[in-house]
Amino acid sequence: MPDFNVRSDSVNVEQIMEQIRARIREKRGVDYTEQQIHELATVKLEKFLDPKGVRSDLLEQFRKAQPAYEPPELPNFAFEESTLFESHRAPIRWMRKLLLPLLKLLFNPNPLIQALNIQARLNTMNAEREAKREGARRALDQLYYELIHNLVVETTRTGIEVKNLKMRLESISSRLEFNERRARALESAVVYKPSAEDVAVQRAPAPTVQHPRVMPTPPPSSRPMAPAPTPAPAGSGQAPAAAAPSTGPSGGTPGEGPGQRSRRRRRRRGRRGGGPAAGIMGAPGTGTTETGPTSTDAESGDAHAVAAEDVEIALGAESHPSEPIADSGPALAADAGHDLSTDSGHESSTGSGQGGSDPDAQ
């Protein structure tokens, strides 16, 4: 607790107590009385209901539905000291008063008077208490209604928020996956960047099957143990997939980068799980027969340009991997061989599976 502001030999106890109370208020908020809390609760409810427009007239409706409480008038009697001896006839009253000492000599009416007086007061008190209790109950009903109403609204809001959070989570996980893929693509692009000679060799056999919108395609020459790619005939989508097992040894080949190894692992996994990549892709052969040539024309056969564009795509430029690769099937297979076609097919299937969760779409 920090020092007090008042630091002198003459202290003011009231001032110190005020400071202590202020500190208590700071620590745990303002000390409200029950009435203030009730008022605040009411105000908060109205404020909460109105701007949100969540059936804000419900409370009013409830209040209207409840009729105003009027305590019933229960019968009671008044009993005072003189009640026993009262009469509307004056002579009788006088006689009774006169004979009162005699009466008291015979028996003691005081306990009776006391008991009946107490009973009358008890009746009144009970009636008042009952009325108060009923009033309190009705007020409590309203309070419960407010409370339940608030709870429902809050629960709904919480449910919506949970849904939102779930969607955000999905979106973030899809972004994460995308980023992972991009990182892998970048990695392979950097490791297998073809030299000028390789590019020259590659340019001759496959001028027509290159597609700009594919993942980086390591040239065959970068893998010494692998056979040279044979240009696949246009329209035969099955060829690269069928050739895949014979492409190379299953173990790490000397000169083979980690990107290749992991790609191969994925490819195997894909085959085990869902059959040929072409199948997963939804019969790329059929689809690509139409689109292949178009894309081929658009490429104009410049391998250098293709490689550069591959890197650009891999860097995650503008297109999302989940975009449907309408024209990539045969061209990709023809260009990069079965290896890449399987890979891209896998990616494509993954992408389409989460297409709806594109973060930008939300």
């Binding site: 607790m1 020092d3 007090f4 630091r7 002198s8 030999d9 003459s10 202290v11 003011n12 106890v13 009231e14 110190i16 107590m17 202590i20 109370r21 500190r23 208590i24 620590k27 745990r28 000291e81 005081n110 008077i113 006391q114 007086n117 107490i118 007061r121």
Partner: protein
Amino acid sequence: MKVAVVVQRYGPSVNGGAELHARYIAEHLARHGQVEVLTTCASDYVTWRNALPPGVEQVNGIPVRRFRVKHERDPLVFGRRSDRVFEQRHSLGDELDWLDAEGPTSPALVDYVATHATDYDYCLFFSYRYYHAYYGARAAGTRAILVPTAERDATIGLSIFQPLFRSVRALMYNSPEERAMIQAVSGNHDVPGVVVGVGSDVPSNPQAARFRQKYSIRGPFAIYVGRIDQNKGCKELFELFQGYLKDPAGKLSLVLVGNTLLPIPEHPRIRHLGFLDDTDKFDGMAAADLLVMPSYYESLSMVALEAWALGRAVLANGKCDVLKGQCIRSNAGLYYETYAEFVGALEAMERNRWLTGTLGRNGRQFFRDTYDWPVIERKYLEMFERLKKDAPARATDPLPGWFDRRRQDLPAAEDVLAKLPKGPELGAPKPAQREPDGRRRA
């Protein structure tokens, strides 16, 4: 000057607040005149059993005349009559029956006062609520001076005491709050009265180290001195202090001095030392960092005054108007009404040593200005002088008749109490305080 001090119990071993008050006053007034004490043979305030022999004996040089109590208190009857007069509509006869049940019923004492009142200049009656004060003051007539020692409880709402407050010659109040309460209930503004209180014989050189060594107490501690009883607020004190103990930053322990009627919480930082003699008690108070006073009902806390006399700060229950008023008027103590305030005040006093020191210094000054014996004695003597000059304002009202006593028209005492004004009396000017350079200021 010859003064009679009339009190319900008297003796060196009687430690009740009003009884001690009466003994101190008797012994100090004896320096200025002849003082005789009229009291009962009882030593126990619950039963009023005749434990001491009737007759005259000397106590600290003061002649004490004892009278037998007619009957002991029957707790069942007293409880039933208390319920009746405090909670229900009742008659004057019920209240007189209650007074008789409360005791100490000693008609012999009252008869003696009635026959020998003229032998004294004044009769000082202590504690308005007892039989001896009600009937004795009536018997003493214009020589009766009342030291009411009234607390804010339902007894003050009983109708029989209102004429008593109006008919005595003068009232020696303990606090402004007490005066305000009595004036509000009885309308006795014209009866001479002065706020006096009582002093205390505090040793000038208490040995704090001796106390710590004797009872193996280390570290800072707060002390409570008095009967450890629920009626004194001790149960609440235990709850509050146990809450404070949960704060790891707090270092204060609680030392309890006095006989206990409550189980003491078991905690290494709560120590109960039992009943101590005055030397150890004052040593303990001097060794303490502060005194805690949790009582709800006090007409004047002598322990708080003693703590102030020793230069110790006080933490009092703010729900007791008298204690709160004293703290504010003296600037010598903090008060609490809630748990948070209790902890806040304890922390403030624990962590701000200058504050505790300043409160203690203010307390010492307050005690010297207001409750030191020369001040108290002077106030009594001035009142006697004043009464000598003034003629008695009114005669004592006669006791109500047979019929009047049986009229069931008196409200429950608790209802009367509830209507009385609450809160500390802060209208009186604060006592002079010392500036840092030692000068006094108004």
